[in-house]
C-alpha cells in the first residue's frame, strides 16, 4: 500500500540526527573544512548515539536498520553539513561492506573497532568505488582483479576514496573476470603494487579527506576477497543511495538557508521573496527536491524489500543521478538568491555549492 511518511520510530531517529546536524555538524562545518577532517569530539558524540554503528549487536553494534531509515539519517547529517556527512558515511561504508558481504571471520575482525566506544571515534573505514570517470555507478568500475592461484592480481585505479589514505579498513570494488562479476577485497595494510596518494587540493568536500589508488600488478591473497558477491552489489548500491541522501540534504540546507535569507532581506521596500523572480527559483528547487527525494525513498525501500538486482541497481543509480543534479542546482540557485552575500564565506552556501559540485 502506498505510504509517503516515515514511521514514528523512523521519525524519532531522524529527529535525533536532525538535532545533531543543527547543533554540531552545521556549526562545525566551516572549521572542519579548514582542518580537512571531522573533529574527535564530534566523532565521540556520534559514537555515543549509535548512529554510526548499524552493525550486528554480536560485534557491539547498535543493530542493522532499514535503508530507508539510513537515507533519512544521511539526509539530516548532510542538512547539517555535506562535507562532514560524506566523511562519516564514507568511513562507515568500509565496515558496512564487510558486514554485507564478508565471512564471519572477516566481520569479527573488521567490525568491532567501529563499535567499541574506545576505538570507534578514531576508527576509519573506506570503500574505493569511483575511478577516472568520477561516477559511482557499477558500469564505471573498470579496475580488475584476476585470479592467479591463491592470489588475485589487481590492476587499475580508484579516485576520491574518502579516508582512502588513513583508514585501517580499506575495501575496494573491482571488476572480476566475468562481465557481471563485481568483487570486493579488504586491502592489507601494506601492499606491493599499490600507490596511495592523498588528494591535496580539492574543490569541495574538504572536510572528507580522500585519496587516489593506483594498482599495478598488485597481488593479494585470495582470502582478502569478500565472498558474498550479492552482498557486494548491495553494498555498492547502498553507497549510491546514501550519496543521493547526502545530495538531498545538501540541497535542502541550501534551499532553507536561501529561503530564510530571502524572507529577511528587503529590496525596494519588500522582502525579496515577495518578488516572483526570487519566489519561483525557490518554488522550483522545492519541487525538484521533493521529486528527487521520492526517487531516493523508492530506491531505499527497494533495497529493504529485496527486489531483483537489476531493478535495485537501476533505481539506486537513478536516485543518485537525480539527487546529485538537484544538489548542484539547488546550491547554485541558493547562492544566486543571496546575491553577493552568497559569495562570501561568512555564509556556508558557497561551501555547499562546492560540495555539491564535488559530489557530482
Amino acid at each position: 500500500m502506498l505510504h509517503f511518511s516515515p514511521t514514528e520510530e523512523q521519525e524519532e531517529i531522524r529527529s535525533l540526527a536532525h538535532s545533531l546536524a543543527t547543533e554540531q555538524l552545521r556549526p562545525q562545518g566551516r572549521a572542519s573544512e579548514k582542518d580537512g577532517d571531522i573533529s574527535l569530539a564530534l566523532m565521540q558524540t556520534l559514537t555515543r548515539t549509535g548512529l554510526t554503528s548499524p552493525f550486528p549487536e554480536l560485534y557491539g553494534g547498535s543493530g542493522p536498520i532499514e535503508t530507508i531509515t539510513y537515507a533519512l539519517i544521511a539526509e539530516e547529517l548532510a542538512y547539517g553539513d555535506g562535507g562532514l556527512a560524506s566523511n562519516i558515511l564514507g568511513s562507515m561504508m568500509g565496515p558496512l561492506t564487510v558486514a554485507l558481504a564478508g565471512s564471519e571471520e572477516q566481520q569479527e575482525h573488521a567490525i568491532p573497532p567501529f563499535c567499541d566506544p574506545q576505538t570507534a571515534p578514531t576508527a576509519r573505514g573506506s570503500l574505493a568505488f569511483a575511478e577516472h570517470t568520477g561516477g559511482y555507478t557499477l558500469a564505471e568500475i573498470t579496475a580488475t582483479a584476476r585470479r592467479d592461484g591463491d592470489s588475485y592480481i589487481l590492476n587499475g585505479s580508484k579516485r576520491n576514496v574518502i579516508h582512502g589514505a588513513q583508514s585501517a579498513l580499506r575495501v575496494v570494488l573491482l571488476r572480476g573476470e566475468g562481465p557481471q562479476s563485481l568483487l570486493a577485497f579488504i586491502l592489507p595494510e601494506q601492499l606491493a603494487g599499490l600507490r596511495i596518494s592523498p588528494d591535496l587540493e580539492k574543490l569541495g568536500l574538504l572536510a572528507a579527506p580522500s585519496a587516489s589508488y593506483t594498482f599495478e600488478q598488485a597481488s593479494i591473497p585470495a582470502d582478502a576477497l569478500l565472498s558474498d558477491q550479492n552482498g557486494v552489489l548491495r553494498a555498492a548500491t547502498l553507497y549510491a543511495i546514501l550519496r543521493a541522501a547526502i545530495a538531498c540534504g545538501t540541497a535542502r540546507a541550501a534551499l532553507e538557508y536561501a529561503s530564510d535569507y530571502a524572507r529577511e532581506r528587503v529590496a525596494f521596500g519588500r522582502p525579496i521573496v515577495s518578488y516572483q523572480g526570487i519566489a519561483f527559483i525557490i518554488a522550483e528547487t522545492a519541487m525538484k527536491l521533493d521529486a528527487a527525494r521520492l526517487l531516493l525513498w523508492n530506491a531505499a525501500s527497494n533495497w529493504d524489500k529485496g527486489v531483483d538486482n537489476a531493478t535495485l541497481v537501476r533505481d539506486a543509480e537513478a536516485a543518485q543521478f537525480q539527487a546529485l543534479k538537484i544538489g548542484k542546482a539547488a546550491t547554485i540557485d541558493a547562492l544566486q538568491v543571496m546575491g553577493g552575500a552568497g559569495f562570501i564565506q561568512d555564509h556556508p552556501v558557497e561551501m555547499w555549492m562546492r560540495n555539491a559540485a564535488a559530489m557530482e
Binding site: M1, H3, D290, L294, A318, F321
Partner: protein, 391 residues
C-alpha cells in the same frame, strides 16, 4: 512506513484501465484527432466498462478511502491511451468535486443521481471567462436572486464538454465588490432557457476533446441550485473553486504522466526497431542516456502525483503538493514529447510517429490548464512563505 507498492486491488484496477486504453482508445486515437469527433460507440463502451469496473472496485475496496489514488491510476492509463478521449468519458467529471464538497446531501442526491440511469451523461465546470483565468476574483459573470430563482448573466469559455454536459457547475459573482468572497457555484442544467453554446474551439492538441463557449443570457435556475457549502459560509464559493483545483491537479498530473509514458515507450520501441542503421554507437548511447533520464523524470512525476493523491485520500492538506505534481508533470510531458519527436524525426511516416506528434501537440496544454506553470510556482511559493505577501 514509506511504501511505493500498489496493493493487489489497485494493481488490478490499473491493469483493467490499461486494457480499456489499449482496446477502446488507441485504435481510434488518430482518427478522432483528425476529425475532432468521437463515435457514440466509444461513449457507450466506456460507460459499460467503467460501470463494471467501478462496481467491481466498490466490492473489493469496501469503505477504504483511496478514491484519489484509484482515479489517478486510471487517469494515467487513460491518458496513455488518449488524453483527449479521456476527457470525454461519460460521467460527472469536473462537476463532481464542487457538488461533493459544497453540496448538501439533498443536492448531491438530486444532481448525481442523474448519472446513475445507465444513459450517457456528462458534467462540466465553468470557471474561466474571456477576461479571467486563475484570478477568479475578477469574475464578471453575475448571479442575482429574483424571487425563487437565480438569474445568471455572462460568458464562460474553454469549458471541457460544455456543449454536451447535462449539468454545468457555473461560477458567478453575487456581488462584484466582494471580490473572491462574492463567488458562488451554481448548478445550471442543460436546456435551461437563456443558456446557449457559443463557439467550439479549434485547438492545437486534445482536438477530440470538446472545448466550448457558454453564454448565459438571463438564464434562470431554481434557488436550490446554489451550492452554498454545508456551513453556508461566504467563502464557500471560492473554496469550492480552489478545492476543485486541489483535487483535480493530481489528476491532471496523472494525465500528463500517462502521455509522457506513452511517448517514452513508443520512442524506446522505435529505437529498438527502426533506429537508422547509419547511427554510430556513440549516437545510440547518447539517445539511450536521454531515454533513461526521461524514464527517471517520468518516475519522479508519477511519485509526486501519487503523493498528492495519497494525501488527499488521507485528508491531509495537499495544495502545495498538488501544485508541485501538476507543475512538474506539466513541464515534463512537454519535454518528453518534444524529445520523442526529435529522436524519431529521421523515421518513416508511421502510425507510431503520427501518435508521437499528436502527443506532442496534446501535451502543451498540461503546462497551462488548471493553472499555468507560473501559477503553480506561485502557489508553491505562497504555501512555503505563508507570512509573506507574494503578489
Amino acid at each position: 512506513m514509506i511504501n511505493f507498492t500498489l496493493s493487489k486491488a489497485q494493481e488490478a484496477f490499473r491493469d483493467y484501465a490499461h486494457q480499456i486504453a489499449v482496446e477502446e482508445m488507441r485504435p481510434i486515437s488518430l482518427e478522432c484527432d483528425r476529425s475532432e469527433k468521437i463515435p457514440d460507440t466509444f461513449f457507450w463502451n466506456m460507460q459499460k466498462r467503467f460501470w463494471a469496473g467501478s462496481a467491481a472496485q466498490a466490492r473489493q475496496q469496501g469503505e477504504e478511502r483511496q478514491q484519489n489514488v484509484l482515479s489517478m491510476l486510471s487517469q494515467e492509463e487513460m491518458a496513455w491511451g488518449d488524453a483527449a478521449l479521456s476527457t470525454a468519458i461519460p460521467g460527472p467529471g469536473l462537476a463532481a468535486p464542487p457538488i461533493l464538497s459544497q453540496g448538501t446531501s439533498e443536492q448531491q442526491q438530486r444532481f448525481l443521481s442523474l448519472f446513475m440511469d445507465g444513459q450517457l451523461h456528462w458534467g462540466a465546470l465553468a470557471l474561466t471567462e474571456p477576461g479571467i483565468g486563475s484570478d477568479v476574483a475578477g469574475m464578471s459573470t453575475t448571479a442575482v436572486l429574483d424571487g425563487d430563482e437565480w438569474v445568471i448573466n455572462g460568458q464562460k469559455h474553454y469549458i471541457t464538454n460544455g456543449a454536451r454536459a447535462d449539468l454545468i457547475i457555473t461560477f458567478a459573482t453575487v456581488d462584484k465588490s466582494l471580490g473572491r468572497d462574492g463567488i458562488r457555484p451554481f448548478v445550471v442544467p442543460k436546456g435551461t432557457p437563456g443558456l446557449s453554446v457559443g463557439r467550439i474551439e479549434e485547438k492545437m492538441g486534445l482536438r477530440a476533446s470538446q472545448t466550448a463557449e457558454l453564454l448565459y443570457d438571463n438564464c434562470r435556475i431554481p434557488r436550490e441550485n446554489l451550492l452554498a457549502g454545508r456551513e453556508q459560509s461566504k467563502k464557500a464559493g471560492f473554496k469550492a473553486a480552489m478545492g476543485t483545483l486541489d483535487a483535480t491537479r493530481p489528476m491532471v498530473g496523472a494525465l500528463a504522466v500517462g502521455i509522457a509514458r506513452a511517448a517514452y515507450e513508443a520512442t524506446v520501441q522505435w529505437i529498438k526497431e527502426e533506429l537508422p542503421r547509419g547511427y554510430s554507437s556513440f549516437k545510440r548511447r547518447e539517445i539511450e542516456d536521454e531515454l533513461e533520464e526521461m524514464r527517471q523524470e517520468i518516475q519522479m512525476a508519477r511519485f509526486l502525483v501519487w503523493r498528492a493523491a495519497w494525501m488527499a485520500d488521507n485528508r491531509m492538506p495537499n495544495s502545495k503538493e498538488a501544485s508541485m505534481c501538476k507543475a512538474y508533470a506539466g513541464g515534463l510531458v512537454m519535454k518528453t514529447t518534444a524529445a520523442a519527436v526529435r529522436i524519431t524525426a529521421p523515421g518513416e511516416t508511421s502510425e507510431t510517429r503520427l501518435l508521437i506528434q499528436k502527443w506532442f501537440r496534446d501535451s502543451k496544454v498540461f503546462d497551462i490548464f488548471e493553472g499555468t506553470a507560473q501559477i503553480q510556482r506561485l502557489i508553491i511559493a505562497r504555501r512555503m512563505f505563508p507570512r509573506v505577501e507574494i503578489p
